[in-house]
């Protein structure tokens, strides 16, 4: 088991590094010149040369890679992701601010989505063709037909603009409040640490619409998977046999759920990895300064260190998420060997 975890980690780290290095070369192969963005209009030969030198772009590609990895001073191997060419602060510190916002958004959305999808999926699997099932079908047609930012805008229109029950879609906190001391950069947690319940409530309030938007979309695939998986288990031989053996309903229900769980967990993992950068549209609709936003800005600005840093961080997080889920699956299903 420990050997399995270590091996998975080692392989995963190599993969993450491989992806990052690939990205390193791909962005440098793009037909766009980051220097021209930095030196402004009508630059002199000299200022261009200077800028190139400052960014390290005058070195050979290979030397640039070695620098990035940390063979010449600080780099990936020494725990540094370099300095942003746009802001001048370290990439790591910027990710440390934007990542928690995204993670907080995604995790809450997943919790909400799973809490909705699993019970409804179970109920509709039990009664296919029932009222609830028809409702779910309608939702599937409806929700899938529009992109996520569109739903975000509709929710803002309805709940903020028309009904006025949601806060303005501007960031994580009421602009009038002072943010709690940044400890973890998770606003919810920091406000609790600071004992600032007004801030906590405001942060929760500001999460409602983005979470609603994201989970509104996440529920679709999760619900579908729950339904499929549940009806597969429900029509399985062993559930039938448990009924025939006169086991109690509760006990049969537990067996069913447990057996139906594996594909749902796998899907959750895949969606999670996807959402780390895929939540960008929702982040921008609600002006949340998250990782997705940061990544898009980095690409648009040709801020190479930031792009590389984001990719590496996302790969490493996905790695841990997948590993955690695989261990969970192995715990549920004895047929999965973890050696």
């Amino acid at each position: 088991m420990r050997r399995y975890v270590l091996r998975r980690l080692a392989v995963g780290v190599l993969q993450a590094l491989g992806i990052t290095i690939a990205v390193f070369f791909v962005i440098r192969a793009l037909p766009a010149d980051p220097v021209s963005r930095i030196v402004g209009m009508n630059p002199t030969e000299d200022s261009i040369r200077q800028a190139r030198h400052a960014l390290g772009l005058d070195m050979s590609l290979f030397q640039q890679l070695l620098t990035f990895l940390g063979f010449h001073g600080n780099g990936v191997f020494t725990g540094s992701l370099g300095t942003s060419w746009v802001s001048g602060s370290t990439v790591l510190s910027e990710i440390a601010i934007t990542l928690p916002t995204t993670i907080q958004l995604i995790i809450t959305s997943f919790i909400v989505a799973l809490l909705v999808a699993i019970p409804i999926g179970m109920a509709t699997a039990r009664r296919p063709g029932g009222k609830l099932d028809k409702g779910v079908f309608g939702y599937g047609l409806f929700a899938g037909a529009q992109p996520e930012f569109w739903w975000g805008l509709i929710f803002i229109f309805v709940f903020y603009f028309k009904m006025g029950i949601a806060p303005a879609p501007l960031g994580m906190l009421d602009p009038m409040l002072t943010a709690p001391d940044a400890v973890t950069n998770f606003v919810l947690i920091d406000s609790l640490i600071a004992g600032d319940f007004t801030a906590f409530k405001s942060a929760l309030g500001h999460l409602v619409l983005p979470v609603l938007t994201l989970s509104f979309l996440l529920v679709g695939p999760l619900l579908k998977m729950t339904q499929q998986s549940m009806s597969r288990v429900l029509s399985s031989e062993f559930i039938l046999y448990q009924q025939a053996s006169g086991l109690e309903k509760k006990s049969i229900g537990r067996s069913t759920l447990r057996s139906a769980l594996a594909p749902i967990i796998t899907l959750t993992g895949i969606l999670f990895g996807f959402m780390l950068s895929g939540a960008v549209l929702v982040e921008s609709v609600f002006s949340l300064n998250g990782l997705g936003q940061y990544a898009v800005a980095a690409v648009l600005n040709l801020d190479f260190p930031a792009v590389q840093g984001v990719i590496l961080v996302i790969s490493v997080i996905s790695l841990f998420v997948y590993l955690g889920l695989d261990l969970l699956l192995a715990k549920i299903d004895p047929r999965i060997l973890v050696k």
Binding site: L240, Y241, A244, S255, R335
Partner: protein, 598 residues
């Protein structure tokens, strides 16, 4: 017996499966009465609704089916009971053994927990007591090492063991009604016999009503008092067993009896020594497979036999005994570790696959699962024509004529030619496989369980067909099967295999009338002949084996049967046995049998 004495009686029992907006009716207004102490055999083609009926008797249907009508158990309608009352009856007063033992167990929970859950659902036992009980139960059905096995997960058990665990669960609560859905379909014949004997005794002693769903007329003839035949969700024949065998009323029943009637006599019992030329000779064939943990599994060892023109060899033995592997070695689908295969005086085991291709048209095969071996996208015409394209120089017209000739040879009509395999029944598919195998007029055929996957009526038809082809075409073949009555009908010679070795060989007549090896005797004794006047349960002395078949990975040093053989002595455990000739074309691998024959 009158309906008022019935333990369970259904009136207007109906099971429907919603299929979108359509209702698929699988049990149609069915009335059935079951009485205490009576064993009822339920027969019917696959899809006729047998399993649905078995479940509906407990008020259950496969998800998302719906049961309606009346199921009166001791006069009370199960379908109107509340959940708790129903729950107390299921698994307690009515026990169920399902067709697929391994699938009936929750793959995520260990066996002990599952047994104790059922036990605790019907008693107030504590968890610890239930665990002890689970161990007892496993031990009582002959699972050795029960303390360890109780922690095993279903995928770690063999099908046979899972079946035993289920049987132990069903019988442990002393039900009044036992419903068994093909309880022995996955079991080997000697183990099937053990189980059925035990069930029969229990039903007699405790006055249990039993409904046993089966495809095997032998089980009905040997163990059932009454036979019920279903077709399309309805009962078409419901008779006392002996009366049914004497005079079946329905066409379906007549067909079953007709096909099995021959089962007691063999027309191939003649001539032991043959003068026709030798077609195939196999010497000292050996094949092992590497298995997990670097060990080797011995699939076939020291297999030697020859087959002469116009004769057929039956290869019998329980599952895993190596029958299929022998066939695959001859067909060059696997390479032997050692040994030789000679076809008409030419050695074919060591030639290259390319060289072997020219023998392909001479050596053909038919396998167990007809659908697997037919290309689903090809029309039947092309399926049968393929070997002609590959191996002959015929013109288009000649091929067309030959295909039609073959189709009629196997009892099919031309109108199936444009169809695809998927739209044929299993029986028709198997006939197509046979037609394809016969296309190039092979001199030698390997038939590997060609009848086993077929429903009873189709199986009977197939046997009749093979028999007539054998006479008309003078076929020479190996027939692999675990079904001894079929082998007896079709084969001149028999080789009995046990755990990779041939333990006895002789003509059908010799082996069936005077089996010599203890394993052959037990095997023959477990054959359930389709004749209610000579039932196994009426026989006083039975040749029986104990316990389970050992693993082919860790084979014992001495005789492979020693652990199960009732005659075993120390010498058996010490010395490996050799196949010794005890008469013309007759040999046996057991020193005691050899001595007894002198």
């Amino acid at each position: 017996m009158t309906p008022s004495e019935a333990l369970l009686s259904t009136r207007g029992l109906t099971v429907k499966y919603p299929y979108g907006d359509v209702q698929n009716v699988v049990i149609d207004e069915l009335d059935l009465d079951l009485y205490p102490g009576q064993i009822v055999g339920l027969l019917g083609e696959s899809g006729s609704g047998k399993s649905s009926l078995a479940l509906a008797l407990m008020g259950l249907a496969r998800h998302p089916g719906v049961v309606s009508g009346e199921v009166n158990f001791r006069g009370k309608n199960l379908l109107k009971m509340d959940d708790e009352e129903l729950r107390q009856i299921r698994g307690n007063s009515i026990g169920l053994i399902t067709q697929k033992p391994r699938q009936a167990l929750d793959p995520l929970v260990n066996v002990g927990k599952q047994i104790s859950r059922v036990y605790r659902a019907h008693s107030h036992a504590s968890k610890a007591d239930a665990q002890v009980r689970a161990i007892e139960l496993l031990r009582s059905v002959g699972i050795n090492d029960a303390e360890r096995r109780v922690n095993a997960f279903p995928h770690e058990l063999s099908g046979g063991m899972a079946q035993r665990a289920l049987i132990s669960m069903a019988l442990s609560v002393e039900p009044d009604l036992l419903i068994a859905d093909e309880p022995t379909s996955g079991l080997d014949v000697t183990i099937q016999a053990q189980f059925l004997d035990r069930m029969w005794e229990r039903a007699r002693d405790a006055n249990i009503a039993v409904l046993i769903v089966t495809q095997d007329l032998g089980i009905v003839a040997n163990y059932c008092d009454r036979i019920v035949i279903m077709e399309d969700g309805k009962i078409i024949e419901d008779r006392i067993t002996t009366e049914f065998f004497a005079d079946p009323h329905t066409a379906y029943g007549k067909k079953l009896i007709l096909a099995s009637g021959a089962g007691t006599k063999s027309s191939n019992a003649d001539v032991a020594i043959t003068t026709t030329p030798e077609i195939l000779r196999v010497t000292d064939l050996r094949k092992t497979f590497e298995v997990e943990g670097g060990k080797r599994l011995q699939a076939v060892s020291k297999a030697s036999f020859q087959i002469h023109k116009g004769r057929s060899l039956g290869l019998v033995g329980e599952s895993g005994s190596g029958k299929t592997t022998v066939g695959r070695l001859i067909l060059r689908l696997a390479d032997p570790d050692s040994g030789e295969v000679w076809f008409k005086g030419e050695r074919i085991d060591s030639i290259s696959p390319k060289e072997f291709r020219k023998y392909r048209s001479k050596i053909q095969a038919v396998f167990q699962d007809p659908f697997d071996s037919l290309n689903p996208r090809w029309p039947i015409e092309r399926v049968i024509r393929e070997p002609l394209d590959l191996h002959t120089e015929m013109s288009k017209a000649e091929k067309g004529a030959r295909v039609r000739e073959l189709v009629s040879l196997v009892g099919l009509t031309d109108d199936i030619l444009p169809l695809r395999p998927g739209s044929l029944s299993a029986g028709q598919q198997q006939r197509v496989s046979l037609a394809r195998a016969l296309a190039t007029e092979p001199e030698f055929l390997i038939l590997d369980e060609p009848t086993s996957a077929l429903p009873p009526a189709a199986r009977a038809d197939m046997i009749l067909l093979l028999k007539s082809l054998q006479e008309r075409l003078d076929l020479c073949f190996i027939f692999i099967s675990h079904d001894l009555s079929t082998v007896r009908e079709l084969c001149h010679d028999i080789a009995v295999m046990y755990l990779s070795e041939i333990v006895e060989m002789g003509t059908s007549e010799q082996v069936f009338s005077a089996p010599s090896h203890p394993y052959t005797r037990a095997l023959l004794d477990s054959v359930l002949f389709h004749d209610p006047s000579s039932r196994r349960v009426d026989r006083t002395v039975k040749a029986e084996l104990e316990g389970e078949i050992p693993s082919p990975v860790d084979l014992p040093a001495g005789c492979y049967l020693a652990a199960r053989c009732p005659m075993a002595e120390q010498r058996c455990r010490d010395d490996h046995q050799a196949l010794i000739e005890i008469g013309p074309s007759r040999s046996v691998r057991c020193w005691k049998s050899v001595e007894a024959s002198k």
